[in-house]
Amino acid sequence: MIPDNKPDRAARDRIWAWLADIPDPEIPVISIVDLGIVRGVSETDGGVEIRLAPTYSGCPATEVIERTVVDTLRHKGLGDVTIRRVLSPPWSTDWISADGREKLRKYGIAPPAGSASKSELLGPLRDIACPRCDSRSTRLVSEFGSTPCKASYKCDDCLEPFEYFKCI
């Protein structure tokens, strides 16, 4: 059908476009393509294989995302759809697209700041800009929020709480 390495670009782009319409179940304004979860698309006998990178080891959305990908592509008539979980290299917030970061910010979630390097993870906390008023007078309330990937912050200027998508 439509492997990445064949020149049938229009067909391949179509699959990627369908995948880009699949939202993250927890943060519906951002797609699984924006999040960098989709690692590749290739042809199999009678269908396609989609390679996905799980975000956190314990992320409860992983299976939901896989089922949604299968259901969506089957519904588009793609025959046999298989998912392959790719653990290596491990998913990183560095893979979130610039577009994705902006969508997060507009939704009220501060996007990851800096890179996911080891020194960053063990180093001092950065100043995070408030997604509503852009102030840098914000403070960490808790390293953990409603999901493992987010921390809880509060803005000292507009006084609103917000979540921050942590670098990992």
Binding site: P54, S57, G58, S88, L121, S142, F144
Partner: protein, 252 residues
């Protein structure tokens, strides 16, 4: 024992540590000292459970007898679990929980960093994924240890007592047996001696910042690796396995 069996047993040890510690942290849900800490512990538990699932799934495939993650978690007897005694210790008060977390995560992070470079591709992948999560655990819990140690007289006294109570379970983390040697020699895996040296240095640094004293060298408890657990373990396993035992084949 052939290599596949050795690797399966090694994976089960890792899965058991993650599962049991995850189970302990799940006990804190609706009982945390404050909402943010409850969220933190629930998040840690989720990380551990996710890692346990990855280790168990791989072990099940290698074993090739049709056992999966649920069989390992819910249908084994106490003596079959191979977790460290440290992770099955009760949550106690917040200081006990934090000390247990720091002592274990400081070891676990070092282990994962080395396993991420080992010769078994899938094990290395799981370790590479997990180490990023454990870094957050260690950062959070080390900061709490410093606050509790360098806090009030009462908080320091209590958390020093936690340290004294749990120290005897740390020796087991560095034992070097046939499975460790197999992973080191055949897969280029971690060296327990080196991990112990790094662990001592990291723990010493946190304790110093927390104005706590490192307990003296002492007799160390062991037995987890051979399935001989402390008196707490039976209760934990009974609660964890109750639903599956009462309603065999139950699924969500």
């Amino acid at each position: 024992m052939d290599d596949k069996k050795r690797l399966t047993s090694y994976l089960l040890r890792l899965g058991d540590n993650a599962l049991i510690l995850g189970q302990r942290l799940v006990e804190l849900v609706a009982k945390g000292p404050e909402l943010e800490e409850e969220l933190a512990n629930a998040n840690f538990a989720l990380d551990y459970l996710g890692q346990a699932r990855l280790f168990y799934s791989y072990a099940g495939e290698l074993e090739g007898q049709g056992r999966g993650e649920d069989d390992f978690a819910f249908l084994r007897e106490e003596g079959e679990f191979r977790n460290f005694l440290l992770v099955e210790q009760p949550n106690g008060h917040f200081g006990d929980t934090i000390v247990r977390q720091v002592l274990f995560d400081a070891w676990y992070l070092l282990l994962l960093e080395q396993l991420a470079d080992c010769g078994d591709v899938r094990l290395a992948e799981i370790a590479a994924r997990a180490q990023k999560e454990i870094r957050y655990h260690l950062r959070h819990c080390s900061q709490w240890l410093v606050r509790l140690g360098d806090g009030t007289e009462e908080s320091r006294e209590r958390v020093q007592a936690s340290l004294e109570r749990l120290w005897r379970y740390t020796g087991e983390l560095f034992a070097d047996d046939e499975l460790d040697r197999f992973v080191r020699e055949r897969l280029g895996g971690p060296d327990p001696g080196e991990i112990e040296r790094c662990w001592q240095a990291r723990v010493a640094a946190v304790l110093e910042e927390a104005t706590l004293s490192m307990p003296p060298a002492q007799w160390m408890a062991s037995g987890g690796r051979s399935g001989r657990h402390t008196e707490h373990f039976g209760y934990l396993v009974a609660e964890m396995q109750y639903m599956q035992r009462a309603y065999p084949g139950l699924s969500w």
